[in-house]
Symmetry: D2
Subunit: 353 residues, 4 copies
């Protein structure tokens, strides 16, 4: 029963491959997660994995020991002409400014793009100019990639702006209630979110130094976080958004406070009213699991593409929604692959379960 | 320079001792912290440390190895007559029901009591009956021991009901603003709190099993937590309180969302208005540190009796208050010692810096 | 692009299924990991998942929220006749005594068994009687399931005794060097191992209470751990084995100290000598990754079936071997599936990459 | 009972102060711990706290929020003439090269120095030149500051080389057994040590990035760590030393493997033989706690100056010693204060219990 040592995802396309894919920014946390997911995806072939870091870097085995035997290939320097030549779909896991500069040209050259940066997420030009001043030009055919709520737009997009991790967890819980008109007029919308430290990226800093995070919790970015603008775009109004750093690696939990329409929640009917809306919105959404009053926990979604949502409503209409994701999967690389599946006309779950 | 091995806090009263103190419930987390603090307190002598656990238990060195050489004494079985005979002040770090039963008799016998349970925290009989049905009788002379705001009442009390950890962090931030009338009428008050796992006590359970907490965050007790009632008592109105378990041992951070009086916050004056109220309220409070817009973090208060408070207010009057404590010190044993100091007429900081 | 919500691994056998499998003890940590792996295995069908816990328990969604949508089925009470009737291969993830009692009957009834307990790991009757006195009868056809080194025996076994987590990491590093005669005669063999807390199982205890483990490291079981006997069986001589509990959930790192044959390591040739032996032993072993002098870390193997091995040898022949696995995957459920694959004549990697 | 807000440890010397002390390198982790300990020391006054970092930095409250109200003073730029003028004892918590350059001049100018760097720990010039090539000149009157074993030398020293964290834990366990001749001739001495991440200092790096440490354990510096040379100096022979990084902030546990003299350990007398030696060596050592066969754990020593030692010996003479300290207290700042106490003729425990 000899099983020769070999890797999955080598350069040769699978017989069954329907698309060639490339990753720009493959050594960051989202980039590595993309490599892991795409290497085992049965219907695509990784043709390039690039890093904008120091040149001289090739030899992924040495740089990415976790991926040895899962992916065989080299990390190469970023080269947009190679991306155009060798890939049908390009994932950008780059800093905002780099993505803002690179993406339009790729789209012009006919490549389809899934962009994990924030450069193209905000539709309103003035708002975008405030939060992403690096974004000078929008390519044609941009869709916001909150897959479950934007499938049709994603399917025909040239560039999918993959949502931020906080907006993903928050909007999957809030957007259906807003759309259904269940939020009371004038209700404050408050989002208190807790994220693992991998959300801050791979570049060392005092804030993400182990001894500064371990045993601590801190709020940051109050009234001043770009994901707040993205959440406000999604709900169409003002939101108080406060993210917190908690001492774990992967995962994000958003606790959301709103008041519901009194007539819809009287007599203790509030939780059922919320349930009905969610069940309709997510009837065909494998990756959204509805927990009802059993509130979600990060451990149940870590290392998966699921978003778990739970809720409680009191008789006076006060509602607490809790939403949990893995920030690197449903909040980044997993949703990016889900979007790619939709763009390619595949079952959106392919390679993700 | 030989220094014979010896312990601090042995049975012999210090020359300078002004009171004999005893601990009922000395092996739980709050009880151990009381032992640690009282053993090095320069003006009191520990005369008894009792546990309600299995009898046969004596030999604290074996049970409490962290305290070896810091405190020398035996853990003895709970015996109320010994408490009455040997102590001037008794700390109860017992389950609610045990404290509810034991405390009134101690007070009747002339002992002063600092009770770390919830049994006597709620003043309204109906509310208390709902949350603490075990409490059948209130002793005379009960004060609520949020020291900074209740010094006079604590000084003359026979029994101090030491506040819960969540209410301590929350009310130190909220109560001065409520008292000053700065909260906008009709504003929702939302408290999203994050606590280390030691707050759940020392009894093993699935919820506090290492592998269930590590790498996870979860909300619990939504619309149904006794500390919510205690916070509502403190602010005199309804509060939405959602506690969360975060993967660290000690520390608690409360993020509080309110709307302030529009006329007090217009023109960007909101943060200064909050600052002025806090500075007046805490002018003589060593243990409340005002951080302004530099928001507190758990690591700065861990293992201390400090409560750090920070705040942000936007031009529309939305305010975010952040308050951090060590749940076992300012949220339990430290505040209990602070209350004892006030009861005994000592500088409230004695033994706590 | 509607994708109806559905689960993978429902009761209907896949068209391609080659075997029906059942799990006894499906709610413990190893049992849950088995469910996760087997639910996505393309060539087997889960026909039963049983728990020896309280009866009344059915409704896995409620008990195992992490597995919702990944596996659809009920946890049922343990019933050996059902196992015999409905499964070709049964995984036992039970306490030692329960496995010792259940396994022989299953084998007699013609079912093949992968046992994750320790009941059948020790071959010598006297040694087994000391460490596993619950094991009264050995079934026929027992193999020790350290897959890479026992493939032929596993392939024909009726019962595979799946190795302990510590022995797996240790023996994959040590056994080839012992077999090749590279260890110096008379050399002490010292194994200092560090394990995540999930290795202690799911039953709450003081030792595995979050607040007791967080921020701490402790040694345990010195000269008195059953895995020490299993390691000694594997190397054929005495071993000093000291396991430690470290504050993480999943993963195990063994640091091994031996002296090598002086003539094989002189002139700085020691590391090459070790490399040559490993490369030969693991030429066809996808799941053993040889890191050379770049020592393994737990993070690179967490959530995978890999065992990473690194080594350093100094000119005097002192060698340090470092071996890392995920204790719940290669140290339990993953290796169990790997063994099942070998028993069924499948590629041993099926469902594991 | 008004208690004006004020700090402890302000610039004015206490009435009872016997010495003026200064810290060079006050913002690193050891430096902050020195500030914390010295600010509450009853018999010394902090006259300067300096940082070699960017100038412009003054306003410790902003840089060191954890110390607000515990110490009131400014962090000032490093200035050796000020140290000479304003301090009787200077603590150097600087990088090796900076300490190597600064210390001799301070000693020449009559200041007594406690140096927390490694620059002056190694006595043998050739060994020192290999590991600390930055050290060009040794001041007169250097003592190695493993307090319990070097009190007389420390008392008269001009410069105390404060031991490294790994050597402190290791040598307190090993040195008495070596001195008593209990180690078997030719026995290997193996030290497998596990340290919290604060031991790596405050400068952010990929290795100490939260997401790289959390959930992982790694070995490093095999056959090539400066603390190995320091341990070998302490035992007078070769030692195999392998440090590991474990995911906690503070604390260090060393597991030590040796063989004892057969005639001293036969008949199961090994543990008693070890106990007798330790009890004699540490009869007057408050900070060394002897646990016997109840092995130490990091949690029992965290935030204290204790070193806990436990041991097991089997009938064949194999011994496992386990030693635990807080790397920032007994492994750095606490032992430095203990050494200062000895230098000043004070009770060595002053300010440390």
């Amino acid at each position: 029963m000899h099983t020769a040592v070999q890797s999955i995802g080598a350069h040769q396309p699978h017989a069954s491959s329907v698309a060639r894919v490339a990753i720009a920014g493959a050594t960051g946390y989202a980039g590595q997660e993309l490599l892991r997911l795409l290497a085992r995806h049965p219907l695509v072939t990784i043709t390039a994995a690039m890093s904008s870091g120091a040149p001289g870097v090739n030899g992924a085995e040495r740089r990415l020991p976790a991926l040895a035997r899962l992916w065989r290939g080299d990390i190469t320097p970023l080269a947009s002409d190679t991306l155009v030549r060798e890939a049908d779909v390009v994932f950008l896991a780059l800093p905002d400014a780099a993505a803002a500069e690179l993406a339009p040209g790729l789209v012009d050259a006919g490549v389809r793009v899934v962009d994990l940066s924030g450069a193209f997420r905000l539709r309103d030009a003035a708002v975008r100019a405030r939060w992403y001043p690096e974004t000078h030009r929008l390519p044609d055919g941009v869709a916001y990639g909150l897959t479950e709520l934007e499938r049709a737009a994603v399917a025909r997009a040239r560039l999918v702006a993959n949502p931020g991790c906080y907006p993903t967890a928050t909007l999957l819980a809030l957007a259906p209630l807003v759309a259904a008109g269940l939020i009371a007029p004038g209700s404050d919308i408050i989002v208190d979110a807790k994220s693992g430290v991998s959300g801050a990226g791979k570049t060392p800093s005092e804030r993400t130094h182990f001894s500064e995070c371990h045993g601590s919790v801190s709020a940051y970015g109050v009234f001043n976080h770009r994901h707040g603008a993205e959440i406000e775009q999604g709900v169409g109004g003002p939101v108080t958004f406060v993210p917190h750093l908690v001492p774990l690696d992967r995962g994000l939990l958003a606790t959301i406070y709103v008041r519901l329409q009194p007539d819809a929640t009287s007599g203790g009917r509030g939780e059922a009213a919320v349930a009905e809306i969610y069940e309709r919105a997510y009837a065909d959404a494998t990756f959204v699991r509805l927990n009802g009053s059993a509130l979600p926990e990060i451990k149940h979604v870590a290392h998966t593409n699921f978003c778990d949502i739970g809720w409680r409503v009191d008789p006076s209409g006060r509602a607490v929604l809790v939403s949990a994701i893995d920030n690197l999967v449903k909040g980044a690389a997993g949703q990016a692959v889900q979007n790619m599946n939709v763009m390619l006309g595949l079952d959106e779950r392919t390679g993700l379960l």
